[in-house]
Symmetry: C2
Subunit: 554 residues, 2 copies
């Protein structure tokens, strides 16, 4: 196959976005066009809510460098439903521009299962992430200005909890000192930059249900602590209105299309470790009022993305998935079975068998929520028949529903079998159940996630995490869902432990209240909130041709 | 008058941008819509160039805190031409979002002489400035990554010439240290943030004539010096293609409308001190191929904005203004005559008379370029008849053409008299002449600007500026136009010297080559490239109403 994602995308014929809107039941007056193929949706101009579509959540085994193609399967599954004449919309996260300059590879699906215009979506899109950067850093400037102009709120400059952000991979900004240069240049203090998608504002935007709710959540964000260690919020600074103003357009979901013309709503993209890793509630809710079936995804593997989709997003959205797809590939299972990346083209049925333990755990996890998952075994060209058969046999033996997918090469046609299995699952009654209640103690919530979702033995809190827990209880912040910041590469907190590790203890080294988002981030291991660029950044290959088209983007 | 700019703007009825395009002769296929009232123009889809409209440059006396209303007069003059059924387009700079959070007051005109949708234009508009922020900081990240990954180019981390930017007023970022935290977090060094509109990329975007030219200019930008003090450019880093890719949409001019439905092209907004302070060449050139008359403005007073429009922009654009309007107000002339801001409502004819010296100098300056200026005396409600008459009498005595304008209150109708005078001036043959040639020595160019434009006695270079000059000659960079970074409040380099100071010497303390922009920035006095927020930032008053409309923006 000599196609690249960019060449396939460039050669695809897009429909005018107005036609996609019509197909999705969106009246033209609700469209705010961004060129011919992108539009923001003014939800206030949509017809009244008469239906609530069913949700198909696409998740995956623990990710490996081999690639699983979760977004590709998500798009391909929606295209398959579209081919079956189902009323369907796919809801996806917005990619961050930051990593684009670093690593080759987009976040808009691949091959013939992509969303378009992929080049725009992977670059500035409709400016949502830029607006979040603006709002985040306006808040930072207002905090530092407050320190500089008399500090009426008695903020301790050593305890400013609000960091600056940029949508770029820039390791040199992880730890900085600011306010240098004397009394006219602000108050010196330590600070750091995260990547924009790690901003609490991104999580807030993705969990808010209305502009009013957005403002209220922004007001609740903790920005610093006083010299007396009392928390200070955006409300006390009085700038939640200004932040909402900066975000009012970014809050509107974006309509685009797949390569097969299926309507796609792409909106919001929070990190899946220090945040909850799903597209916005606005996007999901908008898709549900328009279509019978909403295909959506969650970040990383089911231990992180799906768990948070259930416990955080579903709780706030007052819904639950009606079907769950777990994406796996033979390549990735082999890596979980101990094979190195450069050995993946060698058939190795034993390694597949060993690696299947990881898939098995994620299947068990989804079943605990009361949902019977469907496994999508996503084909790659080099997969051997024996290896594929190994997985199919395992699934049959375990009573797990499984379908081969080949959406990269075939688009929706390569996802028809999966769509049929998912459709059957959608028709069945559900008994969805959360694994914990918000009112459980923080330790109890953590233990449930570690034992039931990760398959670990227990939790352990560092002294500093224990101290934080005391504070949380003091401020009455403990009755919030947990947002685990854990490596995505392992069910444990050790990235190198592939497959299905057992008997491990997860160490919680810090707990960070995100009151705007409405969850407690629990940090385990080293979680990177500002990536770096590689030695040969992808930027070196990028260009624009004479007609203004992207070259070397992916 | 109980109207605010925002209430007037909100109550105005806008035409669909497609209608404005039709009026401007822009085919629908050249439009990329951003909502219903904004569009980017794909200049490659415009009809062939058959006409080159005349340019009316609007400049002003040295600005004062009293306000002159230059943008308001620019818009009002275009509306007046529109009322006279002339084929006219107004070309303006894009406002920076940064100051919006700080000071009440927009940059889109005022009253009934505004461009719309003012709320969008003053916030994120079509994302151009965000794209520049992205490109600027991507370059920074790529430079620091280069330092971190082996530093093949031998960059001296103490001599990185490329600063980061944010479109926000944030004094605490003026001087920072980055790369702290050990060997995995980059190379520690001093850095600083400018406001985005001060980025060389903004100047480059505004002076480039094609996407190809844009890329070439980006490639020429100096980013650092080696340990051997040799300059290193973007080309050596190999990322001009990636930067162009990030800027390809931002490079397209934006179409909007005035409150009276006159087509407006708003694109690019470089600082008027460390850069040249005019909207993009793309905007001006696009307007010229579409309309007979292009009304445009330059930043600050004629000593800065107009001088640079002539020597930098006109040179690159291979054109010259066909008429120049100098905006003055009685209020501002009074301040130049020594009156404090809180005394401005008191009639004071003597102060007006004294302050007129400032206007007289700017009139002389424009005449030196071979153009007979027209003075717009822009009325404010509190102006006394005697004061206005003082200015009119002076003009008559000096043979200076002058018209009263009242565009804030009356829109185009309040600019009809001005339009008629300007129209007469447009009909006359011109003998435009640059005051210096690029090939003059740097000292000679500086002396010409100081003596002929500022009315000063001489120049003086600090030792460090002299050293820089030696380097410039060594690298062959001296045959470029000068971009003076001088206070806008005085013809001299002392902000407090109002009116028409004489006999002063201008001290050049540094010379910074901007090879991408194609000029030499000569620094005089303290030039702020990152503003700060005031004690009571405008952000405190901002909000969004239930319908998602801005509240308290202006």
């Amino acid at each position: 196959m000599s196609f690249t994602d960019l060449s396939i995308a460039t050669n695809a014929t897009m429909l005018p976005i107005q036609e996609i809107a019509t197909k999705a039941g969106i009246p033209q007056k609700a469209l705010e066009l961004y060129g011919n193929y992108k539009a923001k949706i003014d939800v206030n101009s949509l017809p009244p809510i008469t239906t609530q579509g069913q949700i198909v959540l696409v998740t995956a085994i623990s990710p490996t460098p081999a690639g699983e193609g979760k977004s590709t399967v998500t798009v391909g599954l929606a295209d398959a439903f579209n081919q079956l004449n189902e009323s369907v919309i796919v809801a996806l996260r917005e990619p961050s521009l930051g990593p684009v300059m670093g690593m080759k590879g987009g976040a808009t699906g691949g091959g013939f299962a992509q969303v378009l215009p992929m080049e725009d979506i992977n670059l500035h899109f409709t400016g949502d992430i830029h607006a979040i950067t603006s709002a985040n850093n306006a808040l930072s400037a207002l905090i530092d200005n407050h320190l500089h102009q008399g500090n009426l709120l008695n903020l301790d400059p050593r305890r400013v909890a609000w960091k600056r952000v940029l949508d770029i991979n820039d390791r040199a900004l992880r730890q900085v000192t600011i306010g240098l240069g004397g009394p006219l240049q602000g108050v010196p203090r330590q600070d750091g930059f995260d990547i924009t998608v790690a901003s609490e504002i991104m999580a807030v935007l993705c969990l808010a249900t209305s502009l009013e709710d957005l403002k209220e959540r922004l007001a609740q964000m903790v920005i610093a602590y006083t010299y007396d260690k009392e928390p200070v919020t955006v409300r006390q600074l009085g700038v939640e209105g200004a932040l909402t103003l900066l975000l009012k357009d970014a809050f509107k979901p974006n309509l685009v299309q797949t390569i097969e013309g299926t309507p796609a709503i792409i909106h919001g993209g929070p990190f899946a470790n220090i945040a909850h890793g799903c597209n916005s509630l606005m996007a999901t809710n908008t898709a549900r009022r328009l279509a019978d079936i909403v295909v959506t995804e969650a970040g990383f593997g089911a231990d992180l993305g799906a768990e948070k989709f259930m416990h955080i997003k579903s709780r706030k959205g007052n819904f639950h998935p009606d079907a769950v797809v777990i994406v796996a590939t033979v390549r990735a299972l082999k890596m979980h079975g101990g094979v190195e990346k450069n050995q993946l083209t060698q058939p190795n049925t034993d390694a597949v068998k060993r690696g299947m333990a990881n898939l098995a755990k994620h299947v068990d996890t989804i079943r605990q929520f009361g949902i019977e998952p469907v496994v999508a075994l996503n084909r790659f060209t080099a997969d051997a028949q024996d290896e594929l058969q190994e997985v199919m046999d395992w699934a049959k033996a375990q009573g797990v529903q499984i379908a081969l997918t080949n959406v990269w090469e075939q688009g929706g046609k390569g996802g028809l079998e999966l769509a049929k299995l998912v459709k059957e699952e959608l028709a069945k009654p559900k008994n969805f159940t959360m694994l914990y209640e918000e009112t459980d103690s923080v330790e109890e919530k953590l233990r449930i996630i570690v034992q039931q979702v990760y398959g670990g033995a227990d939790i352990q809190l560092t002294d500093s995490a224990k101290k934080k827990l005391v504070d949380l209880k003091k401020y009455g912040w403990d009755a919030l869902p947990i947002c685990m910041a854990k490596t995505q590469y392992s069910l444990s907190d050790q990235p190198s432990l592939h497959g299905r590790p057992e008997g491990f203890t997860i160490t919680i080294r810090d707990i960070i209240p995100k009151l705007g988002a409405g969850f407690l981030v629990c940090l385990t291991g080293d979680i990177m909130t500002m990536p770096g660029l590689p030695k040969q950044p992808a930027a070196l290959n990028m260009d624009v041709d004479q007609d203004g088209n992207a070259v070397g983007l992916f």
